[in-house]
């Protein structure tokens, strides 16, 4: 016993050194050890690192976000799951809903822009897919740096991000109907890639991301790409500030997109949900994002009041011999988790693996049973017969609140005002301003805006995109995004209010009734007083504007640590999407093609 203990000690300290780059603070590590009553295993430490990181738990922002209005007549499901849901209207005796998710993929897109942006689309699509919806539209809000120099990294990022969004969205067959782009030197080292996805679902067929009350003994089914080491450490990665060193060190955390597999996975999942609904079975489903198999299964089960037991040996992998921590928290793309009654598992496996031939679409892709839902509220992982994780599932999934330390007396942005000054008036800035006033046609021409045959107003034909997503129905959905970085340099609160109003105005301008909002809050380091103050001010602005318009926020995302290598935050960017409902798309004016300026600076980048 004691020799085993002494043998393990050095290993553990080495682990802690290796984990020096994780985002967990010393306080949090102490709290983990206290909660467990022992030192965590390596797998557990990685699990808490993922689960308690800003990315998963919004630990700095939760208290602030509670100030946003989230209720309204049309709200079917507010913030808290993978996507929000709004009531759209009735058709043929069925009540239909719009599912909406809105997220950032800023850090990955700065480092490997094509893959980062593409996987951003991939992730947001899964968020909507797992609610049981058909994915029917995309939008993107992009913020790039000064792209005037053709040799600059900013230019490369601006080009490759659009390539990535285009390659992914076009291949899966979801039209990109709305978006905006701004160029501002405050984004030189930290571009923003925010994506929105819309889905359509019958209200009675909504799939939730928690195991239902009768779920004890249900089976956990992992579906999609074979797990590989590529996405290890992504959750805490997005919560760290980028610098040159981490750009190199963190490449391993960036995902490889597979839109071909996603195309098939989406269609197979539609088929699975249709088959389950036909049998009156309501499964639970959740997208695998930050935190991998562990994060997804723990949240799916904990939020239903259950525990989980998972055998990591059953996870399908791309390479043999992956260590249990990679199997548990690696962030390989194109995966989802379903919780199902055991009686239907064989049918679901057959749809994914035989009818849709997942194993032939990508190497060792498949649906596989990996564990069960347990009454006991523990979260247990086994690997090669050993228990590598065994913790209270509540403790794991409820990250402690952190009030950002206002103690670090960072002055409130002398650099910001200086930058704003610089940004006005000089000849050079005037020419960057051209990029912000020209037609965006060279950019959005790269996106398929009309696939599915439901598009009423394609991208660029009006201020908002419009689709008629239910075949045979006149019901329409409008979508627009907004958020002006030039305003936020002066007043983040005003900029946030303006983002709400502008997004709403755009939706109203096509004849739709605004019914809900989503937000993606892109800010600097919450531990710096000035940066955090901008975030708080922006939430003020969002809350005030939304309340005054009587509109709820139904989904959202916070992205912190958007700063340059000198520690300057990006221009505060509360980016807002507005969803509008249209009773009869015949009542709205058709869109009109934009006049494209002869000398458009974006043509050089995108065409």
């Amino acid at each position: 016993m004691s020799s085993a203990h002494t043998k393990r000690s050095p290993q553990r300290s080495q682990t802690l050194i290796e984990l020096g780059s994780t985002a967990l603070g010393a306080d949090e590590r102490r709290r983990i050890a206290q909660g467990l009553g022992r030192e965590p295993t390596r797998v557990e430490l990685h699990a808490f690192d993922a689960q308690w990181s800003e990315h998963c738990s919004y630990k700095s922002s939760r208290a602030q976000l509670r100030r946003l209005p989230v209720q309204g007549e049309r709200v079917v499901l507010g913030p808290g799951e993978d996507a929000g849901i709004l009531s759209l209207g009735e058709h043929a005796g069925e009540r239909y809903c719009v599912v909406v998710a809105h997220e950032s993929h800023n850090h990955p897109s700065q480092i490997v822009p094509f893959e980062g942006a593409a996987t951003g689309v991939g992730g947001i699509v899964r968020d909507v897919l797992c609610m049981g919806a058909r994915v029917v539209a995309l939008a993107d809000a992009l913020r790039f740096g000064d792209v005037r120099d053709p040799e600059s990294h900013q230019r490369h990022v601006a080009r490759a991000v659009v390539d990535g969004i285009s390659a992914y969205g076009n291949a899966i067959g979801v039209p990109n109907i709305a978006g905006d782009v701004y160029f501002h030197e405050g984004f030189n080292e930290n571009a923003l890639v925010n994506v929105v996805a819309l889905g359509i679902v019958k209200e009675r067929e909504i799939v939730r991301s928690f195991v239902p009350p009768n779920g004890e003994g249900w089976v956990l089914l992992l579906v999609g790409k074979a797990t590989d080491p590529s996405g290890f450490g992504g959750a805490s990665f997005s919560s760290l500030t980028l610098d040159a060193e981490s750009e190199t060190a963190n490449r391993g955390a960036v995902q490889v997109p597979d839109p071909f597999l996603k195309n098939v996975l989406m269609r197979a999942t539609y088929r699975v949900f249709d088959a389950l609904h036909a049998r009156g079975i309501r499964a639970a489903c959740k997208d695998l994002g930050a935190g991998g198999v562990m994060g997804c299964s723990a949240e799916l089960c904990a939020s239903g009041g259950f525990g989980a037991r998972i055998d990591l040996d059953l996870v399908n992998t791309a390479v043999p011999g992956l260590p249990p921590d990679v199997l548990a928290v690696g962030e390989t793309q194109e995966r989802m988790l379903l919780a199902l009654p055991p009686a239907v598992v064989d049918d679901v496996l057959r749809i994914y693996n035989e009818e849709f031939t997942l194993p032939q679409i990508a190497y060792n892709a498949r649906a596989a049973v990996i564990g069960t839902v347990t009454r006991e509220r523990r979260y247990m992982l086994t690997h090669r017969g050993e228990t590598v994780m065994d913790v209270d599932i509540e403790f794991l999934t409820k990250a402690p609140f952190v009030t950002p330390s206002a103690a670090s007396a960072t002055p409130c942005h002398p650099e910001r005002s200086e930058r704003s000054e610089r940004n006005r008036g000089t000849d050079a800035s005037d020419s960057l301003a051209l990029y912000n006033t020209c037609s965006r046609e060279p950019l959005y021409r790269r996106y398929d805006s009309v696939v599915r045959g439901c598009t009423v107003i394609p991208r660029g034909y009006a201020e908002a995109g419009v689709i008629a997503p239910i075949p045979g129905s006149r019901l329409g959905v409008a979508l627009a995004v907004a958020g002006n970085p030039d305003l936020s340099g002066r007043d983040p609160r005003l900029a946030a209010e303006d983002a709400v109003r502008e997004a709403v105005d755009k939706v109203v301008s096509v004849g739709a009734e605004p019914i809900g909002l989503t937000d993606c809050l892109n800010f600097g380091n919450p531990n710096k007083e000035g940066h955090y103050a901008e975030f708080v001010a922006a939430v003020d602005g969002l809350a005030h504007a939304a309340r005054s318009l009587n509109l709820p926020f139904v989904s959202g995302n916070v992205s912190f640590y958007n700063e340059d290598s000198a520690g300057n935050a990006i221009p505060a960017s509360a980016i807002v999407a507005c969803i509008g409902a249209i009773d009869d798309v015949g009542s709205i004016t058709p869109g009109r093609a934009e006049q494209v300026d002869a000398a458009n600076p974006l043509a050089e980048i995108y065409l």
């Binding site: 490997v112 230019r155 490369h156 590529s230 490449r251």
Partner: protein
């Protein structure tokens, strides 16, 4: 003038789906192939310092992504034993995508396919020809080169 022709291979470090798909399709066509390797080979004209060519390629973000690719310089500017090179006839395809590589004045991208038999030996000339004609090349728009054969 220090102008040279260089042959540079860029290979995926992650599993190459195209190679896997090509293998399955070739076997479906009844062509005796047990393994397929795939890469992009660039025929470059370079004015720069040979010692820094790899570094210059690695700096070019449009062509090379260290997260995904491995780059190497070929000693010979012709296909190896079991290898086929295929390139587009249209010279528009030879423009460098995005940002050019410093010092490089022209670049011709070619698909490289290496085919191996069940016994591990390089595929025969006849197998290469069939693979080329029946799947790997569209003769309407592409030329190909392998061993002694130059297909136009």
């Amino acid at each position: 003038m220090n102008r040279r022709h260089e042959t540079v291979e860029i290979r995926l470090k992650v599993p190459d789906n195209a190679a896997y798909t090509a293998l399955v399709a070739l076997q479906h066509l009844g062509i005796d192939v047990a393994r397929v390797e795939h890469a992009v080979v660039w025929g470059l004209t370079d004015d720069g310092d040979p010692a820094t060519l790899v570094a210059r390629i690695e700096r070019n973000q449009a062509l090379f992504n260290p997260n995904l690719h491995a780059v190497s310089i070929r000693s010979q500017s012709r296909p190896e034993t079991a290898e086929i090179w295929i390139w587009e006839v249209d010279r528009d395809a030879w423009r460098l995508p995005g940002r050019g590589i410093e010092g490089v004045t022209s670049a011709k991208p070619m698909a490289s396919w290496r085919l191996f038999q069940r016994d591990g030996r390089p595929a025969s000339e006849e197998t290469l020809r069939r693979a080329c004609n029946e799947l790997l090349r569209n003769a309407a728009v592409e030329d190909a080169l392998f061993r002694s054969s130059y297909l136009t």
